[in-house]
């Protein structure tokens, strides 16, 4: 992924391997750059090409762009990992929430008790 990434004409350009990364990962990640950059995502022969152009009022100097490129690369990996967890465990999350609010539709009342090892009583 990193080899094609560069800073060019005051813009950050990053190429993301479409066979490894989902569009969901790309958009969830670039969402957080929208406060400082105009974000553009395009598909080119199966890869995603991300362009970040600093907004005029964001006060980002040319010298700071390598930091943001590094942050983009790191965040892409972070969101990719989150994507994996979501894919592998999404059904457990759904089951858990469904059971929590099912009022016994999925089983009898959930038998668990709230453990309170530190001794906190319920707070109103």
């Amino acid at each position: 992924m990193t080899s094609k990434n560069r800073i060019q004409n005051g813009e950050i350009i990053a190429s993301v391997d479409g066979s490894l990364y989902s569009s969901q990962t790309v958009f969830k990640c670039t969402y957080w750059f929208g406060d400082k950059f105009h974000v553009n995502v395009q598909q080119e022969s199966g890869d995603y090409v991300i362009t970040l152009r600093p907004m005029p009022n964001a006060n980002i100097s040319e010298g700071e762009l390598p930091y943001y490129l590094q942050k983009l690369e790191r965040d892409l990996v972070d969101f990719h990992l989150r994507d994996i967890v979501n894919n592998e465990t999404g059904s457990i999350r759904e089951l858990l929430v469904a059971k929590a609010f099912s009022n016994g539709e999925y089983d009898e009342a959930p038998p668990g008790e709230i453990s309170d090892p530190v001794g906190f009583a319920p707070l109103v």
């Binding site: 969101f79 967890v85 999350r93 858990l96 709230i114 707070l123």
Partner: protein, 470 residues
């Protein structure tokens, strides 16, 4: 198991499971965990912590899923009783002219700016329809005590109806204390009414924030706090501060003032977004940076008192810490998901208009009626609480499904605030990268976890804050 993670700093990251337990681990742990690179034997401690805390499971559907479901339901059980807090704006009149207050009127015109008895009656009737066996009736202004006759009328009527409807009621008067007297306080004592007063800091800050003829708001507040404590008892009198730009320059002095006045807690409330310029995102971010720096300086001073053996608590941190450290629900309007507006609080304005929160009525004073749920003259309980507006607000106030929040590790510790986002970004859903709500909560939550991780003494102090005090 479904888990989320967030980077705390360069060395550490935090993992949070689906029921809000957290574990601070070295950076890179989440990546190794996802890539299944953890060494069960070689890293037995970490592996044990992850299994015990339900961050990972050794079987595909963990046997403990029922326990987790119960815990999840408990975390959200603040919803069970629906709206409990009912604010009655008994008068819009005030003798102060605080520059940050958009609503109050300096006037003798009771007829125009005091709540009518008919509207008080209807508000009480709506409150009695709340599914909750316990409700809170809070009197607000203007200066609520200028309409003390309204308060007496409302309390007396509510007492009768509460017996009929089998409800317990907590009464609170929010007041700047300037006009409080023994007669009023004796009535409060007879009726178990709590006093929520205002104290912005030392005289130099308080009097500058709270203008009134005589420039003696501070002196009257201190006199009122002392008199209220004498008649009602110390625990029945609390104080709230309003943070202004001037306050931001005096974090230490404000904390020390609260300590000097014998309070064992202080609520470092964020600056109201209505002081923020709508859609001026760069300026808002800068203002929030200033607030965060104020907050940390003040919190560190509070921790110094605690490290010297005093009990002195910061309330915003305590709300978040209860969510982080205990399995129990925390119903605080601004940090709930679904949002506490409507589901936790409703406001009956002096003119009979009904709003989703106190901030909503401030917006209405600026001619923005987005969060007006209806009117006491025309709408039923169902219209107000389950109407189209209420549903729209709650849908936009559920962070599990908001962009940015849906993957955030702090989702369970944070909340959603459609009113703040509407006011500052012109959109109830909001845009997290420029949201000052997100900026504030993300940093405060991160900071609290980092503090606990860095110093076991601070962790013990925080644990003492979340234990019930009475």
């Amino acid at each position: 198991m479904p888990i989320r993670f967030h980077r705390l700093n360069d060395q550490k990251e935090v993992l949070v499971n689906e029921v809000g337990d957290h574990l601070v681990v070295p950076s890179g742990t989440f990546a190794r965990l996802v890539q299944k690179e953890l060494d069960k034997e070689g890293e037995a401690d970490l592996y044990g912590d992850l299994v015990a805390g339900h961050f990972i499971a050794e079987s595909p559907i963990p046997t403990l899923i029922d326990v987790l479901a119960t815990r999840y339901r408990t975390k959200k059980s603040f919803l069970d009783n629906f709206t409990t807090l009912h604010l009655f704006v008994v008068s819009l009149r005030c003798e102060h002219t605080c520059h940050y207050c958009q609503v109050s009127r300096v006037t003798q015109d009771k007829g125009k700016f005091d709540m009518s008895r008919a509207h008080i009656d209807k508000g009480i009737d709506i409150m009695m329809q709340s599914p909750s066996p316990h409700v809170t009736m809070e009197f607000q202004g203007g200066e609520a005590l200028l309409a003390f006759d309204n308060i007496v009328y409302a309390v007396d009527r509510t007492k009768e109806l509460a017996l009929l409807h089998n409800k317990t009621v907590t009464y609170v008067i929010c007041t700047n204390l300037a006009v409080i007297n023994e007669e009023m306080l004796n009535y409060c004592k007879e009726n178990n009414i709590l006093i929520s007063s205002s104290l912005d800091g030392p005289a130099s800050v308080h009097n500058e924030n709270r203008k009134r003829p005589g420039k003696n708001s501070y002196e009257l507040a201190i006199r009122g706090i002392e008199l209220s404590r004498k008649i009602l008892g110390k625990s029945r009198v609390s104080a709230l501060m309003t943070t202004t730009n001037l306050s931001l320059e005096h974090p230490i002095e404000i904390v020390e003032e609260y300590y000097r006045q014998g309070f064992w807690n202080i609520f470092l409330r964020p600056i109201s977004p209505y002081g923020f310029a709508v859609k001026n995102e760069a300026k808002n971010k800068y203002e929030m940076d200033k607030f965060l720096s104020f907050y940390k300086k003040a919190l560190n001073r509070i921790l110094e008192y605690n490290l010297q053996g005093e009990f002195f608590r910061e309330d915003y941190a305590t709300i978040i810490l209860r969510k982080i450290l205990t399995p129990f629900p925390v119903g605080y309007v601004d940090l709930n998901s679904p949002t506490g507006a409507v589901t936790n609080v409703v406001v009956f304005n002096y003119d009979g208009a009904v709003f989703a929160s106190d901030e909503s009525r401030m917006l209405a004073e600026m001619k923005d009626f987005t969060f007006q749920l209806g009117h006491l003259d025309t709408d039923s309980y169902e219209d107000l609480m389950y109407g189209e507006k209420a549903r729209k607000i709650v849908a936009a106030g559920t962070n599990e499904s908001l962009p940015g929040c849906s993957d955030c590790a702090y989702q369970l510790y944070c909340g959603a605030d459609p009113i703040h986002h509407h006011a500052t970004q012109g959109d109830m859903i909001g845009y997290r990268p420029t949201s000052t709500f997100c900026q504030r909560n993300m940093e405060i939550i991160r900071y609290l976890i980092e503090l606990m991780d860095s110093d076991k003494k601070i962790k013990s102090i925080f644990e003492s804050w979340v234990k019930p005090q009475f």
